[in-house]
Assembly symmetry: C2
């Protein structure tokens, strides 16, 4: 049975696991915060379900628990970030914060981040920029699991794009989407639950359509909208992997299966000081006007509201902050196992405390 846990309970559990795995206290808190952010938005595939794999890789030394992240400003608005194989969230938080600072000076900045690892949901870093009054794009490459248009082999990652802007009013504009028809994480989750997946999400390892999540996990997911999604995934690979100077696409390491090779994930953040635009401080207000205009549209059959990108996630966050985070039995079992493995207290014990 799926159980509900208070956020603070999960947070404290996660922190202890990551500290036991070898992270400094403050870095454990960053990684935890990034994972819980995804759970609160209803994207469990990028949430605390990743605690086991993240901490196993840290403990195994294939992720550097104590990285010296190096930020080189090659131009006033251009930051080249070497993550020193540190945890993706730790590296990315330094990168986005430096990019926000630079954007305040130059109006727009880019942080090109190499030698990093899986960094969770891009919306986390975009939200950080929004809080600082900035528009932001966050993109990351991922190990090859998707075909490009015309192909049947996993040659590129599902390379997500996140974007957000300060906005006045009730609804945000904060999107975070894989360039696959569905995020590979959803297939991984379905496989963990033993659920079937809809046809069209993926091909199996022999290039045949499949509804078996386990078979899809070994196969290849398909880009959204055919050639268009494929082109966007290639764009992300250029902006993240190619620009950052490390390995990319087919040369990347896999989060789950590569225990000798680093992942060499690469990310890119573009941050824009919205107040430098023509409307100055009124930018957020104008976004609110756009949202109001769009939400007034007459509805299509089967819909009962026009939702902005990030709006359903905002509603889920409010619900979970009240009710707690729901964790299914298989995830709980994995969390118990990893706690035992690294020598941290189990999640249940924290609840009963």
């Amino acid at each position: 049975m799926t159980e509900l846990f208070p956020i603070d309970t999960v947070r404290s559990f996660s922190n202890r696991v990551f500290m036991a795995a070898g992270l400094a206290d403050e870095d454990a808190e960053i990684v935890t915060d990034v994972l819980i952010h995804a759970d609160l938005r209803g994207h469990a595939s990028h949430g605390v379900t990743r605690i086991p794999i993240y901490s196993q890789r840290i403990k195994a030394g294939v992720v550097n628990a104590h990285p010296s992240v190096k930020i080189t400003r090659t131009a006033p608005g251009f930051l080249v970030v070497d993550g020193d194989n540190g945890p993706g969230p730790v590296v990315s938080l330094q990168a986005i914060d430096a990019a926000i600072d630079a954007a305040k000076e130059t109006g727009i900045s880019i942080a090109s981040v190499g030698h990093s690892n899986h960094n969770g949901a891009g919306s986390y870093y975009v939200e950080r920029a929004i809080e600082a009054g900035c528009i932001a794009f966050a993109m990351t490459n991922a190990p090859p699991s998707m075909a490009v248009f015309g192909g049947r082999e996993p040659v590129i990652g599902t390379n997500p794009i996140a974007f957000g802007t300060p906005a006045a009013g009730d609804a945000p504009v904060l999107l975070d989407m894989a360039t696959a028809l569905v995020a590979r994480g959803k297939i991984v989750e379905a496989a963990k639950r033993g659920d079937a997946i809809p046809e069209g999400w993926a091909l199996d390892k022999d290039g045949r359509p499949t509804t078996d999540a386990g078979a899809a996990e070994k196969g290849v997911v398909l880009p959204m909208a055919g050639a268009k999604g494929s082109a966007l995934a290639i764009m992300v690979e250029v902006m993240a992997g190619v620009l950052a100077g490390g390995r990319f696409a087919g040369d990347m390491g896999n989060l789950y299966s590569d225990w000798e090779l680093t992942q060499d994930n690469a990310h890119v953040f573009i941050v824009i000081d919205a107040t430098r635009g023509a409307a100055g401080d009124r930018h957020g207000e104008r976004v609110g006007e756009l949202v109001g205009m769009l939400k007034k549209s007459a509805l299509a059959e089967g819909h009962d509201a026009i939702l902005m990108p990030g709006e359903i996630e905002m509603q889920r966050t409010a619900a979970m902050q009240a009710e707690g985070i729901a964790l299914p039995p298989n995830v709980l079992a994995d969390l118990d196992a990893i706690a035992r493995q690294v020598g941290a207290p189990p999640l249940q014990a924290t609840v009963q405390a």
Copy 2:
């Protein structure tokens, strides 16, 4: 019967029409170059078929034939461009050139362009940045013709995204896509030709699916990939329309039907000096490596090659440079009519000369 015309013949015809409509010689050449660029890439919907509507709007004074484009640098990397209601290509060329110059200094720059008009294919401006060794994004808003996810009214434009990067080797990475399932221009073209359109492209004005291009032209096109394409269109509206400070979305003027109201199109260009990345001058070479890696993929059924974004367009350009531009009879008739209307020599006469 569709006839083939040498590029120089079409170019000369177009220049004379735009000069007769009131543009300065050099501005006529810019607008012509942008339209022919689209024809050469095989995107006729954004090509010389637009000569009549562009020049009618100039002649009617609803587009300013002699704009004073104003570029304000609000931060080292942030250019606010006021197009003074000039022709979109004239305004956009100044904007992208200023953005390229700024990016060479600051590593990344943004040109937020307001009070402009339809500016043709975004790939034109991206290609200009690529020639200067830069990566670029070009986005523009468009008059409302598309539903957002969940709606059935045209509340947003098909808001295209173009992206490109310098690349070594045989194939480019240069994408230019509407966020609609198909570009509205393709529906306008089909309506002109009297062709049917596939189901799924659009709804009619009452929100019902239609295969009648004329009915679709009066109705609403659908975003690609449902909520994802809808979110990308909203992203473009924020980056172009909202940021530029003018009217946006439902408040924009229509290229074809608004003869009192300006369009108030807005564009955004983000330009990145690729040599400031970790690989320095090796960026283009690394893109070439990515392309090589992706093109080696085993093929899916029904495909005989993996094509990069922009590759088929590159092939078409080579073919048309050899053979000329193909113009169907209805487009030729429209071009004859506009030449008569503005008092320029007809296209046929130029051929016979």
